[in-house]
Amino acid sequence: MKRVYVNEEWCLGCHLCEYNCAFANSGMDDMAEALKGKKIFPRIHVEENDRITFAVSCRHCEDPICVKSCIAGAISKRDGVVCVDQDKCVGCLTCVLVCPYGALAPNENGIMQKCELCLTNSFGEPACVSGCPNNAIVYESRDEVQTEVDPDGRTLYVGD
């Protein structure tokens, strides 16, 4: 499956991915109109300190804890993509608590939203990737199997 991968070696910390994400999910045609004067709620976040910066978005785990934790049954996995049904979300933020990557955050109304790879918005492919000026975010399927396991031994994430 194609996933969004981040290479911190090339991340400049410019935060363009956050703005491209917010624009892609705004449903508007013009970025200035969509984002001017507004606080943005992107689905990808740049983590940074003095030495390192990198963007974090949903890993689309093999065995997503957020899906299991959701008390409203609003999060599900469709064709490998972890999605939120915003009509069902009750805004309890349990998913925010359990996500080991800190990849989930609510929108301006307190309803959960997350990276769905821009598959359902007008962009069609991850806007963070196409807008990254330094190839620090890529969208590809990788051959090697990568797994990450949490301290309780659950498989969080399997790359294909």
Binding site: E9, W10, L12, G13, C14, H15, L16, Y19, N20, F23, M31, A32, L35, K36, G37, G131, P133, N134, N135, A136
Partner: protein, 501 residues
């Protein structure tokens, strides 16, 4: 001091209807032009720091920014132009020598643009490079003039060491130190992929790049930085740098602030010490001395690698080249007055040397007249800007061309000409890690490969148009060139006829 205050050269024009205050411009400007004013909730700029590198313009996601030249100027004066007055103010304030970067920006004649290329019509058919083979490969090095045979009459096929290029373009010398690790990585990878060479410049060869040795020309310059046995052995050829087109007659100076970490290790000098390349090689005062260094290097590499001698194009270049061709060197590289630099005294860069076109024509003719043209190959640089310039250079007599500014442009350079500050926003002429990482070699090498691929197509197209199917048949074929708007003397030196003749 207010006496020398001048309104900033560039103005930042921000379209506030489009600015979304994303602060990308602020994060990307190493000159700290942009800032976010929390109280006003808007972006503000200090244009006095702007060098017009256009990084912010390129990255602004809403196209809200543009940089324009300020129209606040002193009264017009054809003799005392604004730039000249600015320089006087600067020197009156500092007492120092003016420094500049990249190639000569003055309006000197560009002879490439005054020469036009021929094409076949009716009587000598042109060739379609998409349908017929077209040879762009060249070999650089000393050529045997007469076939030699052994006692039993068999041909002796031993030829002096040659550089094999898939197209007649190489990346010219830019040291690790003057440009970044990632810029070098991009050049090395692209040279390898395209079957050509890049050049270490005088900064030594970073240990990570020994793997690209077969496509590397290692330079030995007057400071001898980074030169050791493995370094010489690693390269495909060795270049003795005598001079550089942007600063003939003077040496180099990489300030101690740039001699950090790997740069210091690679140059084999202590961290923080200035890397000063003397103006002359202290062991070369004659062609005989040069010959000694050429043969020392050949001896050290078991006569397996061609030796290049690089000189700046100066008034007496034909005689100098004649001497070099007799020194044992395999290749002469000549760098013209419009050649680039990471930093040079402005007055030297803008006033010393001669254009490469005239130097090339004069050298090629002189070596032919003296029947020593086959002793050496000729490589020319100093502002080769396009495939057309390459075709013209080859028709004038060059074997291959060196490009550097063109390659840097492909890597993202916007020719703001402030390399000497070390704050290159494009990650090229800097050693600051947060800036160096802005040049991803995956992208950089791909763009260089694209550029050379495009030029190769264009070279083939132009050759085909002339009815020529190999670089060999174009070399020194001055009948393929005609001058426009040139004087008798210029035509005579270039060895070409005027258009219409």
């Amino acid at each position: 001091m207010s006496i020398d205050f001048l309104y900033p050269e560039f103005e930042v024009v921000r379209n506030m209807d489009r600015c979304i205050t994303c602060r990308v411009c602020e994060r990307q400007c190493a000159n700290e032009v942009h800032a976010y004013n929390e109280r006003l909730d808007k972006m503000v700029s200090d244009e006095s720091k702007c060098v017009n590198c256009q990084r912010c313009v390129s990255l602004c996601p809403t196209r809200a920014l543009k940089i324009v030249k300020s129209d606040c100027k002193l009264r017009e004066n054809a003799n005392w132009q604004n730039d000249g007055i600015r320089e006087i103010y600067k020197q009156a304030n500092s007492g120092g020598v003016l420094l500049s970067s990249m190639g000569n920006p003055k309006e000197l004649p560009v002879y490439w643009d005054r020469m036009l290329i021929n094409a076949s019509q009716v009587t000598n058919p042109s060739i379609d490079p998409l349908r017929e083979p077209m040879e762009t490969r060249v070999f650089l090095g000393k050529k045997n003039v007469k076939p030699e045979r052994d006692e039993s009459g068999n041909l002796i096929c031993k030829v002096p060491p040659q550089l094999e290029l898939d197209l007649p373009v190489m990346f010219s010398a830019m040291s690790y130190g003057s440009i970044s690790y990632n810029a070098h990585a991009s050049l090395a990878r692209a040279a390898t992929e395209m079957g050509t060479y890049y050049n270490t410049g005088e900064g030594g060869l970073h240990e990570d790049f020994y793997q690209y040795g077969p496509n590397t020309i290692v330079q030995v310059a007057s400071g001898r930085f980074g030169v050791h046995e493995e370094y010489l052995a690693a390269g495909a050829a060795i270049e003795i740098k005598i001079g550089q087109g942007a600063k003939p007659g003077i040496g180099g100076h990489l300030p101690g602030s740039k001699i950090v970490g790997d740069v210091s290790r690679t140059r084999m000098i202590p961290e923080g010490s200035d890397a000063i390349s003397p103006a002359p090689h202290h062991d070369i005062y004659s062609i005989e001395d040069l010959r000694q260094l050429v043969y020392s290097l050949k001896e050290a590499t078991e006569y397996k690698k061609p030796v290049i001698v690089k000189v700046a194009a100066v008034h007496n270049i034909a005689a100098i080249a004649s001497g070099i061709a007799r020194s044992g060197a395999d290749i002469i590289a000549i760098d013209g007055i419009r050649g680039g630099t990471g930093a040079a005294p402005t007055r030297i860069r803008d006033n010393v040397g001669i254009p490469i076109e005239l130097a090339l024509a004069a050298v090629d003719q002189r070596l032919r007249d003296e029947r020593i043209r086959n002793n050496v190959s000729l490589v020319v640089g100093g502002s080769i800007r396009s495939a057309a310039d390459i075709v013209k250079a080859i028709a004038l007599g060059a074997d291959a061309c060196y490009i550097a500014t063109g390659a840097l442009l492909a890597l993202g350079c916007h020719l703001c000409r402030t390399c000497q500050t070390g704050k290159c926003n494009w990650g090229i002429a800097t050693q600051r890690p947060e800036l160096v990482k802005r040049l991803n070699p995956d992208i950089g090498s791909r763009r260089l490969i694209n550029l050379l691929t495009a030029w190769k197509h264009e070279i083939k197209e132009m050759m085909g148009g002339m009815g020529i199917n190999s670089i060999e048949a174009l070399r020194g074929n001055r009948l393929m060139l005609r001058g426009v708007g040139l004087t008798e003397k210029e035509l005579e030196i270039l060895g070409i006829s005027h258009a219409g003749e």
